[in-house]
């Protein structure tokens, strides 16, 4: 019998702001999945290609089109930057292929803009906000001030988090929308400080987040007693920021390399190819998402999108990286989420030893209930 040939396109940021959290690491994670899958099943030939979408939705959609139309790509993965993820999700639906997003974060991908061809892996804005907000609210940190990047992703992150704060009886002390990208946050931080809120929620990403954290420390805001909750902070960014500045932060993450024996073993393998860098949740999501996809193709011996999607949603997931989980009707992959506190430099014993676990949020509670998402795929 002819082997099935599938082509995977890793479309992410290879040179910009998000290249460290996705970039080459995502391609390596995909290659590892291909390798590991081959050792259990050799009936499928997998080819991995990759490209740089420069975080621009138009570049992303051009490449996606060309990949689907011309190059025979079956699945596109990663897609950091929500706008690029949404754009590719639309095209994938039109071309009836499959997209597995692990880099982009907007919860709209499985909400109002959901699609039968889209799976959202690792994390989304709702789950980040939910994790951090719930953990902090439980500790009595119930008044919040948001420092939000003035773009769609920032707004979504603020919206999802604020909803949870309010739901739990918390108070919103205010918010400020800073231009994206920004360099100086001192003015906004001072406004946050003046608001007297217990928590300053950073609803932004990458350099904006690390810049705001650094400057919060410079202005003594953290020493002043206010907590900084960086709603989205990849471990690669924490690494660049350093523990000196990052200590004490509360972050929500879907994956931590040092969680258990399985994750450690896999991450060491990954690190060998990446100059010692540990994988982010986006990169880990590529591995487990691709494994799940390949298993589904092998199981039905067919790579047509709709049957494969059906098979993927029907089969529960269980892998070394994300543990047990499943894919819901709306395309949301659910699994446990973790709330971490960043260690102090003295607590950190070895490279990349960064997190103390504060809470584990069980899969069923970690993501937005399907009924709240307004996804047309969900039959009410």
């Amino acid at each position: 019998q002819e082997p099935i040939k599938v082509k995977i396109g890793i479309l992410n940021d290879r040179s910009g702001l998000y290249s460290d959290l996705s970039g080459e690491g995502s391609v390596i994670a995909a290659r590892m999945a291909v390798e590991d899958f081959k050792s259990i099943n050799s009936t499928i030939e997998v080819e991995v290609v990759s490209a740089d979408h420069q975080n621009k939705p138009d570049v992303a959609s051009s490449i996606a089109r060309q990949w689907y139309d011309l190059d025979g790509v079956d699945v596109i993965m990663d897609l950091p930057t929500s706008s690029a993820a949404l754009a590719v999700s639309e095209i994938t639906r039109e071309k009836n292929k499959i997209v597995i997003v692990s880099g982009g974060g907007t919860s709209d991908l499985t909400g109002s803009k959901c699609s039968p061809n889209t799976i959202h892996w690792a994390y989304d804005t709702w789950s980040l906000g939910n994790g951090t907000a719930t953990a902090l609210m439980n500790k009595g940190d119930d008044s919040w001030f948001f420092l939000t990047a003035d773009y769609a992703f920032g707004h979504a992150l603020e919206r999802d988090t604020a909803a949870i704060v309010k739901e739990n009886g918390g108070k919103l002390a205010g918010s400020v929308h800073h231009p994206f990208p920004g360099t100086d946050f001192s003015s906004f931080l001072l406004q946050a400080q003046a608001s007297g809120a217990k928590v300053i929620g950073l609803a932004n990403s990458a350099a904006d987040t690390t810049g705001a954290i650094k400057q919060a420390r410079e202005f003594g805001i953290i020493e002043g007693g206010q907590k900084i909750a960086s709603l989205l902070l990849f471990i690669s960014e924490l690494h660049a920021l350093g523990l000196e500045a990052g200590q004490g932060l509360i972050v929500t993450d879907a994956f931590y390399w040092d969680a258990n024996e399985g994750t450690r073993k896999w991450s060491k393998r990954f690190g060998e190819k990446m100059n010692g860098a540990m994988p982010t949740m986006a990169q880990a999501g590529i591995y487990s998402g691709l494994m799940h996809y390949l298993k589904a193709v092998a199981a039905i011996n067919n790579k047509d999108s709709l049957p494969v999607m059906a098979q993927m949603k029907a089969t529960p997931t269980d892998d070394v990286l994300f543990g047990k989980g499943r894919i819901r009707e709306d395309g949301r992959k659910i699994h446990d989420m973790y709330v971490f506190q960043v260690k102090t430099p003295s607590e950190s014993k070895y490279p990349w030893d960064y997190y103390n676990t504060l809470a584990t949020i069980p899969a069923e509670k970690a993501f937005r209930p399907m009924t709240d998402g307004n996804c047309f795929l969900v039959k009410l």
Partner: protein
């Protein structure tokens, strides 16, 4: 007394009011356009064509009137938003969407142009940049543009309510028509009596004034025309990629169109087309090289400025000693 027919000049010639070698180039462009989709990926070609039209519109201003607008992305972008919104939300047909896009770009051009035209040189460039930044800010804040996400999944609809444009192939020929039409229009503008005055203004503005020309009105007119054609390119692009986003209004887009025009040869009719093809191809095929794209782009800027300021087509025109 004087032998009037002693010499023939460049103006009188038979080919549709076009110089013969220009007619040949237009025909070969048409030919290339017709066989193109059988050789290359149609969506890529459509993208090249949209940018070619955009660059030609920009060049109408820079190359033929001597005005460096550093905010042309505003017209490209705003038209693509308006066309996208009209088609997607109001459900109008694609040709009407494009028309609305063009009209809004022209309106915006009229407003910004009438203010900017009063300044000269680098100040003109800065005023246009400033207004373009405001348009960018508007696009970021206005609810209908979808912020960072842009307007996505724009339906291509049916041309005149009849012909479905869903297939890339059908759309391709529509875009080819629009682009060639647009470039022919620019060609006609340049070679009209109006264009002749523009040329005179670029050459020697004071003298044109002293001959009695209301130079500012000519400049404004050109500015609006250029904005409208940039809008045509922008709205067509929105339909092709089914996406209108902030990238289209960002100042780096204004920079890119300068690059295209410069590489191809500013002040030539055909240069910007080649320039656009080179830049889009580069971005497309160098995408896997990551940050090297920027380095290469930078090198092209430097090389162009240091070695061939006339641009590729400009150089060719110099060799064959004929305007292209």
């Amino acid at each position: 007394m004087t032998d009037i027919n002693s010499k023939s000049t460049s103006v009188q010639n038979p080919t549709l009011g076009m110089q013969p070698h220009h007619a040949i180039i237009f025909l070969s462009l048409l030919g290339l356009g017709l066989v193109g989709p059988f050789l290359l990926y149609p969506v890529f070609l459509m993208k090249v064509m949209c940018f070619a039209l955009f660059a030609c519109a920009f060049n109408l201003l820079l190359g033929f009137t001597g005005l460096l607008s550093f905010g042309h992305a505003a017209y490209f972008g705003i038209a693509s938003y308006i066309a996208a919104h009209a088609v997607k939300v109001w459900g109008v047909s694609p040709e009407l969407g494009i028309l609305l896009g063009v009209a809004s770009a022209a309106m915006l051009g009229l407003v910004i142009g009438s203010l900017a035209i009063r300044r000269q040189g680098i100040y003109f460039a800065m005023v246009t940049l400033a207004f373009a930044q405001m348009v960018y800010f508007f696009s970021l804040q206005a609810p209908f543009t979808g912020g960072e996400d842009g307007i996505q999944a724009i339906p291509r609809g049916n041309l005149f309510g009849l012909i479905s444009l869903r297939s890339d192939f059908m759309l391709y020929f529509v875009v080819l028509g629009i682009t060639l039409g647009g470039i022919l229009a620019i060609y006609r503008i340049i070679h009209s009596p109006f264009g002749q005055v523009l040329k005179a203004i670029r050459e020697n503005e004071t003298r044109a004034i002293s001959l009695g020309y209301d130079v500012n009105r000519y400049k404004l007119m050109t500015y609006v025309l250029s904005a409208a054609i940039a809008g045509l390119a922008g709205s067509t692009k929105a339909l092709v990629l089914q996406l209108a986003s902030l990238v289209d209004v960002h100042w780096s887009m204004s920079g890119e169109v300068v690059l295209m025009t410069l590489i191809g040869g500013m002040g030539t009719v055909f240069g910007p087309i080649l320039g656009a093809a080179v830049v889009v191809t580069m971005q497309n095929y160098l995408a896997t090289f990551g940050a090297w794209v920027i380095v290469i782009q930078g090198c092209i800027f430097v090389l162009t400025v240091m070695l061939f300021r006339e641009g590729i087509i400009g150089l060719v025109a110099k060799w064959i000693k004929k305007p292209l």
